[in-house]
Symmetry: C2
Subunit: 221 residues, 2 copies
DNA sequence: TATCTATTCAAGGTATTTATTGAATAGATA
DNA sequence: TATCTATTCAATAAATACCTTGAATAGATA
């Protein structure tokens, strides 16, 4: 194998990975898949894409070996092919936040905008929950909670928030989280809770995110 | 800001990073830049690209904030914008090696091919060097050695190997390294040395690579 | 000032990527 | 078997990325 040929082979393979990650739609799909396995249909609904388009992107991701699929009845379940894929997503996000100033701001932007959503850092949340002054709620869908969630978090999917208000201890702070800083469910939950008198905050991360959330300790089941 | 708009903003920024990484040429450029700052001209020569094309790719990398440039006289020096960029490169490579079987093989392929190049793992090299049974030589260009190299390594650029043969202790094993597993200088060096009776090996990594090489300890100056 | 060198810019044709649409497949249910 | 549903395939048009070429800039040297 000649030198040039060797390099093309090597760099061609490396860039299969980044090429697959280079479409916003596909990045979003992976972000959802970091929450746990999902069907094509479900992904299409969550990302507001057509099923055909979703499927096509998933093919691309599978060819780059970023996702794997399995078949149960006539549903195809897709999931991340390797835990390092989640790391890659995280590292890319962190780099973008560091290098693009307006990107970094967005994490706290909701705080300053009109109809402010107070954001709590993971470090602070850890203390508040440990001392019993706050409870943590996971407002993602139930299966996402089941596939992985933060320790001591209650599962209260956003759509069920109203009916499950009784489960929330009055007087304590409520810290809501969803997929991460770029998912809006937790903000919706905080807004809803504040309108009803709760001292609610949104967490700045999700369970698939960085090192700090490891300290809040995840449970996998 | 609407939900859709917010997502487009966020994912659009994330994918600027991966889009920049998604061209084999640009990935190669970054790989060279991980060895230290370089001018456009030098990069063009090393990658065998036209200067205009190199410059254009560097623009793309700069827009994605993966590289930064500074001006000295009428030379523009480019370098990685953040240490996390090097991590991103590494993680991508590691993932490709794990997920593509033929990719993983290539690291040791030279061992099995005709005119075999024996490869030594970093772990083994660490022992051999520590016990004094082997010496480590860095066959990259001198400025790359100066910008960062493995501990106790001698700088012997490939082009000077013949004239510096006298610096090599006879009887000891010689372990050569260059940019990493996908750079061919070290292999050329090993072939050359074996023809002259040395027991030579190539290291499976380079100074910008993974955790194991940290144990061989890097020096930065 | 004129000239040289390193770098960037601009224009082009070709190739690749994208989302949409409608048809095809294949397993489950009746 | 016929029918339904979930998923993939195939074809298209629009948009984008790629490398080449030749010109333009701007700093250094004479």
């Amino acid at each position: 194998m000649e030198a040039r040929e060797f390099k093309n082979f090597a760099y061609g393979h490396f860039t299969k990975i980044s090429k697959a990650l280079s479409s916003p739609r596909r990045f979003e799909l992976l972000d959802y898949l970091a929450q746990g396995p999902k069907t094509v249909e479900r992904l299409a609904k969550e990302t507001h894409m057509s099923v055909a388009n979703t499927s096509q992107h998933l093919q691309a991701l599978r060819e780059a070996r970023l996702v794997a699929s399995s078949k149960v009845k006539n549903h195809h379940y897709y999931e991340l092919a390797d835990s390092e894929v989640a790391e890659l997503l995280q590292l890319t996000k962190r780099l973008a936040e560091r290098q693009f100033p307006d990107m970094g701001e967005i994490r706290t932007m909701e705080t300053t905008a009109d109809g402010a959503i107070p954001v709590m850092s993971s470090a602070e949340a850890l203390e508040e929950v440990a001392s019993g002054r706050a409870v943590l709620i996971d407002v993602r869908a139930e299966d996402e909670y089941n596939s992985r969630h933060l320790k001591d978090a209650l599962s209260i999917p956003l759509v069920q928030l109203e009916e499950k208000l009784g489960q929330l201890p009055p007087g304590k702070k409520i810290i809501a989280y969803c997929r991460g800083a770029y998912c809006l469910y937790a903000s919706d939950a905080v807004r809803f809770l504040r309108e009803r008198g709760f001292e609610a905050y949104r967490l700045d991360e999700g369970p698939a995110d960085s090192a700090i959330s490891r300290e809040i300790e995840e449970e996998k089941r």
